[in-house]
Symmetry: C2
Subunit: 578 residues, 2 copies
């Protein structure tokens, strides 16, 4: 029982030397990666770089104790950093100190939300984010993040914004002031980070670029040439900090905190599940993950961090480097603690442009054109969903983008169910199968029988559509029509509005002297038919298990095409007690 | 072509004497009904009674020309009058003149909305209102309308409100001031209107109550006893009037006008369809109906009326009295015109309490307890939908009520599809049928085969649910499991997120050495499987038309249970061009 709430108890008691070796190597690799990334993402979030390092001390340890994934590497990530910057930027805090308090408050609220979602088992909420929405949203956010770093890469003044149109205007106005030496350093850093990997896969290229940058600025005295540097980085561990408890501040951070909670959890849980599927020696649990991430964010709030979550690429590196348990994260945290204690003076000469390069390389990989091409070919309506989410995110902001994506994709689900696929069926020659006459040639259709299959639930919003289609098909048959057979195989639900309508239709069709059959009702729908008296109205001998049985009944022939019984009990079974 | 836009051309050229007789009788009957109802509903809307009569002059003639229903009787109705009162009341107009301008503006906006909806063919929008939502909303609105008339029936001061809690508090405070003579007149009127019908079905009981009321007040000099009367009613035809074109007024009336447009159209179209189903010598068209009602409302806006729509009981009376064409409406309008020209002085002594009685009798019939009882027994979730709509409408207002109803019922559609019904199938002995093992005894289940049927679309929001269920079922089978057969009969759609997930699952299941089959894919889903490469991944010989064929393939036995071919072409057909 205790293990359920403290997953660390699952692996710590049986910790082995084998695991230690993998964890140590992975922990140090990720720690080395975290130093430049933490500082770069903190800068993206609008904070001093040091807070990116603070954010990977206590929170990492908390996740190691509470998390169900054994390879997930939590910490600052690009998306959440951007969301933080956008959310706090909108409040226009007067001083950097106030900005930090807002960031701590955001982490605090994210922690509370995620904890609450975990406790109330709302982990399923992330399944409302469909693949095209996530893809369109991520690509757009990556572009916004990349553009936001041009400020440091070109050393020009750009106002904070998360709307592409404003960014482009500001860029056009200021691009003349580009500082060429800064651009040069930035581009070299990008090349080192991106193509260094080609020399050796596990080369810590970001850290390499950071070191080269520091050496170049210090050795060549580039600050005198106008290169902007990180400057004084305080040394020592993070002190205790407190978020704001002002309800007005909470209210204005509410929506961004909710977005971070969901988006952060989604990113984290997706990678945790993907890695777990490779290992299979443990299970990840959505609700416990929420509790672990929530607690980690509370840790960030009280130890000078800012909102964090599980990172995609960082987790992959952790896994490849051999991480076996949460101990890897603890080693990463220890490396960061040592850095904070002894190495911060080294970062004085670190150029901002190099940190910008770290961010840009990280987000370029998130721009996913392939998925858009894929969807264009495979699912046109999901393609437009992706494009809509992408454009709204780019032009109207991150939170609006993801919100609109969710609403649009749910609206599409409803819209699709209002115009269900309806097929007219014909008989496959010499068999008892009936199939869509528009898809197969040589199917046998009889003039006196109209056989239909409707695919989807029959409910208030598609009643008119179904009725119109049915009536048109019946009218087209004219006087020859003597029987209508509705194959209800794929009618997954019938609501009360549909029951009312069905009663009218059944009476109406029977009044025209046409015999009406329903075949292959699924169990839950049979229950509804039994409960509401539709069975009596249609007649027990007009409900069959198969289309052929209905046709045979209509022809007054005993079932003879491969049937030896009429399976009446099966066609009429329901769980309703009379 | 012209007939499509002017349905009057359909019947006027071949107008017959027979039709004339029916239309004249029906037109006069409805006209007589319209006199008290028009005045009563105008009072309900917060207007002088005369505007209820103005509203049934020009608009009736416009509908006769443009409408597709031949029996629909348009004019003021209770629900729309209440919505008008609630919408304008919220704006707190300073003078009765301003109140009238707002009412004209509401009619104008309703006209524009309905016209636009008709032109853009948005008539299907009303199908978003489910049966339980309409029922709960109508019952609650009827109660609010009835309570709003207590002011006139008891002759006490009650503030305008559409929230039951405020109404009850005000009623409790003021009920001590009840004027007993007024109550007496009102109750007599109610009895006359309601039970007079028992003497003779076609007795115009409302008009009778009005005449009795006028005679009593005039003959017994009851105004001196404190009976409130209608007073001066201007005679003559309505002059031209203009709605406001102030954008601020439009903005504040927007939401109520939209609600009236939808609710009014819904009420009108429902009765038009019901009557058409009896006659069958013409068709009603949702979009042309919107155009006709929209134009009629514009007529109301420019000739001193207020928002109108097709009325339920009035249309039934029109039909029973023999209406054959729109000419009946024209006769009704002529009767009202004659009344306006010559009879208005007669209404001077008409007691308000009698008009209140007209409204109360009309709305009492709308309170629908039976439907709630029905749903309690037949569809519990729709029962709660009805109750939620009912309670929200009563306590939070008419517009909020119907909006919440629509949102709730769509949310329910989505929610239901996120947890689709999943059945484990077993074989019906001595047959090739497979059915839900939880519903039938004696089904044959094999240890090595897990056969599932999922009912509903497979899409982003139910992927996790389906995967979890599948994995739990597979785990429960343990090592014995060798094949999984997914019966896709009732999977109505597969979106791009599901395709991504399916690819992962197929690979994952195959990697465990378990053979995976899909059977009975419907056409549109086959297309998606073909287009996205799922067919290749699953393997063409793992897709079958029936469950038995998959089992036979797994057993390496030729199909022999009633099958003579394997129908491969049918199982693999798709409309996708390779």
């Amino acid at each position: 029982m205790l293990k359920r709430f403290l997953p660390i108890l699952d692996w710590l008691p049986k910790y082995s030397k084998d695991q230690l070796q993998g964890d140590l190597s992975a922990g140090l690799t990720v720690g080395v990666m975290l130093i430049p990334q933490g500082m770069a993402y903190a800068m993206l979030a609008g904070l001093d770089p040091i807070h990116g390092l603070y954010a990977v001390t206590v929170p990492l340890m908390l996740y190691a104790v509470l998390g169900t994934s054994r390879q997930l590497a939590v910490g600052p990530v690009a998306m959440v950093s951007l969301l933080t910057a956008a959310g706090i930027g909108a409040l226009q805090p007067a001083t950097p100190e106030l900005y930090l308090v807002y960031a701590l408050t955001a982490a605090f609220l994210v922690g509370i939300f995620q904890l609450a979602m975990g406790v109330f088992r709302l982990g399923f909420l992330v399944s409302l984010l469909s693949h095209p929405v996530i893809s369109g949203f991520t690509s757009a956010a990556a572009i916004i993040i990349g553009l936001s770093q041009l400020k440091h890469l070109l050393r020009i003044d750009l106002p904070k914004s998360e709307h592409i149109q404003e960014m482009m205007v500001a860029l056009a106005k200021n691009i003349g002031n580009t500082h060429l030496l800064t651009v040069g350093i930035g581009l070299i850093a990008i090349v080192v980070i991106k193509y260094g990997k080609k020399i050796h896969k596990s080369l810590p290229t970001s850290l390499l670029a950071v070191m080269l940058g520091i050496l170049a600025v210090w050795g060549l005295n580039l600050t005198e040439q106008g290169i902007k540097i990180v400057g004084e980085v305080p040394s020592g561990l993070p002190g205790l900090s407190a978020p704001s408890f002002d309800p007005a501040v909470w209210k204005s951070l509410l929506s961004v905190a909710l977005t971070i909670s969901l988006v952060g959890f989604m990113e984290s849980f997706a990678v945790a599940k993907a890695i777990q599927a490779k290992h299979k020696d443990y299970q990840v649990d959505a609700n416990q993950e929420l509790i672990a991430l929530g607690t980690a964010n509370l840790g960030a709030a009280f130890f000078q961090g800012y909102p964090i979550t599980g990172g995609f690429s960082r987790t992959a590196v952790n896994d490849q480097a051999g991480a076996k348990t949460g101990m890897a994260s603890i080693f990463s945290a220890i490396l960061i603690v040592l850095t904070l204690l002894f190495l911060t003076p080294l970062f004085y000469y670190l150029p901002n442009a190099v940190l910008a390069a770290v961010v840009i390389v990280a987000v370029i990989g998130l721009i996913d054109l392939k998925e858009a091409f894929h969807l264009w070919k495979e699912d046109r309506s999901d393609f437009w969903m992706l494009i809509a989410t992408f454009v709204i995110t780019l032009t109207m902001g991150i939170e609006t983008g993801i919100g609109a994506g969710v609403v649009l994709s749910l609206a599409m689900v409803v819209y699709r169910s209002t115009r269900p696929h309806i097929a007219v069926l014909g008989k496959v020659p010499n068999s008892t199968y009936y199939r869509n006459v528009q898809r197969f040639e040589k199917l046998e259709q009889r003039e006196d029988i109209l056989m239909l299959r409707m695919d989807g639930p029959l409910y208030f919003a598609n009643l008119t559509y179904f009725k119109d289609r049915l009536m048109n098909l019946m009218t087209a048959r004219g006087k020859a029509l003597k029987a209508v057979i509705i194959n209800a195989d794929s009618i997954s639900h019938v609501d009360s509005s549909a029951v009312h309508a069905l009663k009218d239709w059944v009476t109406e069709i029977q009044a025209q002297g046409i015999t009406l059959y329903f075949t292959s009702l699924i169990g839950p729908v049979r229950d509804i038919f039994a409960k509401t008296g539709l069975v009596e109205l249609i007649g027990e001998n007009h409900l069959y298990m198969s289309n052929q049985q209905a046709v045979d009944h209509f022809d007054h022939t005993p079932s003879n095409q491969g049937e030896t019984q009429d399976y009446k009990d099966y066609a009429l079974q329901s769980n309703v007690k009379k």
